[in-house]
């Protein structure tokens, strides 16, 4: 095989204020024609920056400070703008994380698809459009003849990601950079996109760099894996070797993340009054019912995971419980007593018992308030503590969430990392001294190691304070590690519920089965096996639609 891309000792610097600081310290990699390299690491590891540098491109405020990038004999670091313009899109393509944000919303998909080939003189407009339809068909998009004439907002996220892959393929490039193409997707959608990407890369013998933080995904896609940590190279090996015999401690710790398991708790005694009881709730926006007859109980010191795809009504259930969305029918009971449906009618005491932790810690904390103010407000509001007592309680809470009060109390949320922000969100919920906390996808925006830390913290707090959790998630690994009971939702209906051990052992409801089977495993053959077992038409959204 011939060498396509050689990156040698690449050093990248980023500007902060007036000075330049290193963000990538000498990463080297090689890629042969038709080979797929997986780049993994946490956020801030520099994987996207390296991926872009492989195209000879840097974001604003980043510069290549040393090393070389050579693509098929062309030196990309010193190439002129014209040379790069002729390469990018034509021989090197890029697939971004959020297809929805990367398509121009004002143009039809097919018009954006044909732009590259026409500009580069590879094909005419008509020819390229026909080719696009062919690619859509290969990527198993529904109605390939017709879908290209839609606008981006008329197409679902998974389909858009596949259309973007087709667009990257439009000039038949030699190299495609995939930057977390499935991170924002549901598991059932992800699996379809993964299968599509792999098929098309194999079909056209395209080389690819696949950037992700999800090990199980990279195991399906890549021939070789390279692990990055804070701009440094940790190790590189073929996929199988890396999965079976990781060498470095950091890599081993990444592999071990999913092993955290909260000790199983005994079932609540019969007849015990649940902390929160959702009784036959039907709710919706406008005329549409998003939830239909949803019922489940959450007992003291137990965790109930609510699982389902986006749009299945998980978050709407949370909004009903908090009172933001009064249900049309049904009741929410707290300790056996009905809560007023509207949060404005609830007493301070009732509001205090139900707290919430949000998915995006960025938007959940007021960016203009210090950590002490954010945590101090519920302390003052609910418990009436002021001055010294309030400060003492805030410090106590900060210690609870394993942050040093002296260091963090005076900071603004912008000065914290993602995991620390999420901890502050937890502290704010704890400050009310509640019985019940809703955790809405609290770990899905975090890196795996950080997410594990949050899960451990939540588990410890539950044991210490006898808290009950409702854990909304689409990540079944999280469910495995923390839940006691599982509620599976689809289209606003509870399709299955029960204790965790029961849920993870067959027989399942068909939908639960599909969800479980769609979670990638750390086995390079997993996707092949699944495809062989079920057939291409029975995975992912296609299968969901058949139900």
């Amino acid at each position: 095989m011939s060498r396509l891309l050689t990156i040698n000792d690449l050093v990248l610097e980023g500007r902060s204020d007036e000075s330049w600081s290193r963000i990538v310290n000498g990463v080297s990699l090689t890629l042969d024609k038709g080979e797929v390299l997986g780049l993994i690491g946490e956020s801030g590891a520099g994987k996207s920056t390296v991926g872009l540098a492989a195209m000879g491109f840097t974001r604003d405020g980043v510069r290549i400070a040393g090393g070389s990038v050579e693509f098929d004999g062309i030196d990309l670091v010193n190439a002129s703008a014209n040379t790069k313009r002729n390469l990018l899109g034509k021989r090197i393509a890029y697939v971004a994380q959020s297809a929805a944000a990367s398509f121009n919303p004002a143009h039809r998909l097919i018009d954006q698809h044909t732009e590259g080939p026409v500009v580069h003189g590879v094909m005419g407009r008509g020819e390229s459009a026909e080719d696009g339809i062919e690619l859509y068909r290969r990527l198993r998009l529904p109605n390939p003849e017709e879908i290209g004439f839609r606008y981006p907002h008329q197409v679902s996220g998974g389909q858009l990601q596949r259309a973007m892959t087709a667009m990257a393929m439009s000039c038949r490039p030699d190299l495609i950079i995939f930057d977390e193409p499935t991170t924002a997707l549901d598991v059932t959608t992800q699996i379809e996109v993964l299968a599509a990407i792999r098929k098309i890369v194999e079909d056209f013998d395209t080389a690819a760099i696949y950037i992700t933080h999800d090990l199980a995904v990279v195991a399906q896609m890549a021939d070789r894996i390279k692990v990055l940590l804070k701009g440094d190279e940790v190790e590189e090996a073929t996929t199988r070797e890396m999965l079976d015999h990781p060498q470095e401690d950091y890599t081993k710790s990444l592999w071990a993340v999913r092993e955290f398991q909260h000790a199983e708790k005994p079932l609540a005694p019969k007849g015990a009054v649940p902390v929160i009881s959702v009784r036959n709730v039907t709710a919706g926006y406008g005329k549409i019912d998003v939830l239909q007859d949803v019922s489940f109980d959450i007992h003291e010191a137990r965790t109930v995971a609510v699982v389902g795809e986006s749009g299945s009504g998980k978050s709407t259930t949370a909004r009903c419980i908090t009172g933001l969305l009064p249900p049309r029918q049904g009741q929410i009971l707290l300790d056996g007593e009905a809560l007023p449906p509207d949060y404005r009618k609830r007493s301070k005491m009732q509001l205090r018992q139900v707290q919430m932790i949000y998915q995006m810690a960025d938007t959940a904390l007021n960016p203009r308030k210090t950590i002490a103010q954010i945590i101090g407000r519920p302390v003052q509001f609910y418990l009436g503590l002021r001055g010294k007592e309030k400060r003492r309680r805030v410090n106590e809470l900060l210690e609870h969430i394993e942050l040093d009060p002296a260091q963090f109390a005076g900071r603004l949320p912008g000065e914290l990392s993602g995991g620390q922000k999420q901890r502050v969100g937890i502290a704010r919920a704890l400050a009310a001294e509640p019985k019940f906390i809703i955790c809405d996808e609290v770990t899905s925006a975090l890196d795996q190691l950080v997410a594990e830390g949050i899960l451990r913290l939540l588990a410890r707090l539950q044991d210490e304070l006898q808290l009950s959790y409702m854990f909304i998630t689409h990540d079944l690994a999280t469910v495995r590690s923390i839940a006691d009971e599982v509620v599976v939702m689809k289209d606003g209906v509870v399709v299955e519920q029960g204790p965790k051990t029961e849920m993870f052992t067959p027989p399942h409801h068909a939908y639960t089965d599909l969800l479980l089977s769609s979670v990638p495993e750390m086995d390079p053959d997993w996707l092949d096996k699944l495809l062989a077992e079920r057939g291409v038409d029975n995975i992912g959204d296609a299968a969901v639609d058949k139900m």
Partner: protein
């Protein structure tokens, strides 16, 4: 026709010059990326700016009078403008230098990262503030004091119709213009500041209220604002001022109060729209939901959660709005319904002295008379906007 030919010829020459310059730079630097990847349009821009600069320098050194002894006003005004620009730039530079070495550590640090424009803005605002506050002490005469010397020309030179006692001359009824200019700072700027504050209080609180509560109140307020905005603001203000002057009768100060309220209400519609739009983006944030679920009241939501996050755009709008209010007051005064005589006001001064602009061809110095008040208005407008731009830049870059 020939002019068109000259212009297009010059532009073509610039293009050729740009191309040539880029070519030379490419060969001499050994094809450095900076010149290699430079588009022709950018090279053209460099050549064009160089040409303009050369033209300016040439014009600056033209004689200020023709051989016949007639002054060339264009050259003189151009020279004054260039000199003024240099002086202001130097003053701002010195001010920033001083700020970097004097004062508490916090302000020294602030001055270190400050662009020259912001330093200029701050310096100007400080000067205006000092002049406005101490107008009584600084001004050589009272603002309503009438002297027995009418239409004294500026310059203070008796040979050219001036009087050393009145360096800027006197107006048509014999009041000292320098003193009136100084008192004008107090009246015009002070009233504009109060009016803007009032406009922001009304518009801001109603806008946030509409964003937070939404529903029928939002509809009511927004449609009301739409109606107010549909009427051209200056004409509307004139109309209301006519009514107000009937109400005020002989109480001149009452008319000023009415004016403040009228302009504040008219301008608050713009603030309302901004505050509502910014507020709508903030109320969907999870931290607002968290505060609502905590059971917080409306006052806490608006002033403790929303306001701190809306401060940056509101501040920018404040700078701009202040200038508009200021200009509106000046326009109203110019039209005769604003700040009432004998109070000195820049708008009125521009109106009263406007006819002197006709003397520009014969006596450029005399023609500067209306320009002084107009310049004072322009300078403050520019200064405020410089400072606001800098604040915005700083607050948006605060996120690291």
């Amino acid at each position: 026709m020939t002019a068109l030919l000259y212009v297009s010829g010059a532009l073509l020459a610039c293009l050729a010059l740009g191309w040539l310059g880029r070519r030379i730079a490419q060969t001499t630097t050994g094809n450095a990326p900076r010149y290699r990847d430079m588009p022709l349009a950018v090279a053209f821009g460099y050549a064009f700016s160089a040409l303009l600069l050369g033209l300016g320098v040439w014009f600056y050194f033209q004689p200020t009078a023709t051989e016949a002894g007639i002054p060339r006003a264009s050259v003189m005004f151009f020279r004054w403008a260039v000199q003024g620009f240099v002086i202001f730039a130097l003053a701002a530079f010195v001010f920033r230098l001083a700020g970097r070495h004097v004062g508490p550590a916090g302000s020294r640090k602030m001055f270190r990262n400050m662009p020259l424009t912001a330093a200029f803005g701050i310096l100007m605002i400080l000067i205006y503030a000092v002049v406005a506050i101490f107008a009584g002490q600084i001004a050589p005469h009272g603002q309503a004091e009438v002297f027995n010397a009418v239409n004294v020309l500026p310059g203070g030179n008796p040979a050219t119709g001036g009087n050393p006692e009145f360096p800027l001359g006197t107006d048509q009824i014999g009041r000292d213009l320098l003193s009136r200019l100084i008192y004008g700072a107090q009246n015009t700027v002070g009233i504009a500041f109060i009016t803007t504050l009032l406009a922001f209080f009304i518009g801001g609180s109603l806008g946030f209220l509409a964003a937070t509560l939404q529903g029928w109140l939002d509809q009511l307020l927004s449609r009301g604002v739409d109606v107010l905005m549909a009427i051209p603001s200056l004409i509307f203000a004139l109309l209301l001022m006519t009514i107000a002057s009937a109400w005020a009768g002989s109480e001149k100060w009452l008319l000023t109060v009415y004016m403040v309220i009228i302009i504040a209400v008219i301008d608050s519609t713009r603030v309302f729209r901004l505050a509502r739009a910014v507020g709508l983006n903030i109320v969907v944030m999870d931290y607002i939901e968290a505060a609502k679920l905590r059971g917080e009241g409306l006052r806490y939501l608006i002033f403790d959660e929303i306001l701190p996050n809306a401060l940056a755009p509101l501040l920018a709008e404040f700078g701009l709005r202040f200038c508009f209010v200021f200009l509106t007051i000046a326009s109203l005064s110019f039209l005769g319904v604003g700040i009432q005589p004998p109070l000195a006001d820049w708008g009125t001064m521009v109106r009263d002295l406007a006819q002197f602009i006709n003397f520009a061809a014969f006596s450029p110095l005399t023609a500067t008379l209306p320009l002084l008040a107009a310049g004072a208005i322009a300078l403050l407008t520019v200064a405020v906007n410089f400072v606001v731009d800098w604040m915005l830049h700083k607050s948006s870059g605060l996120k690291e």
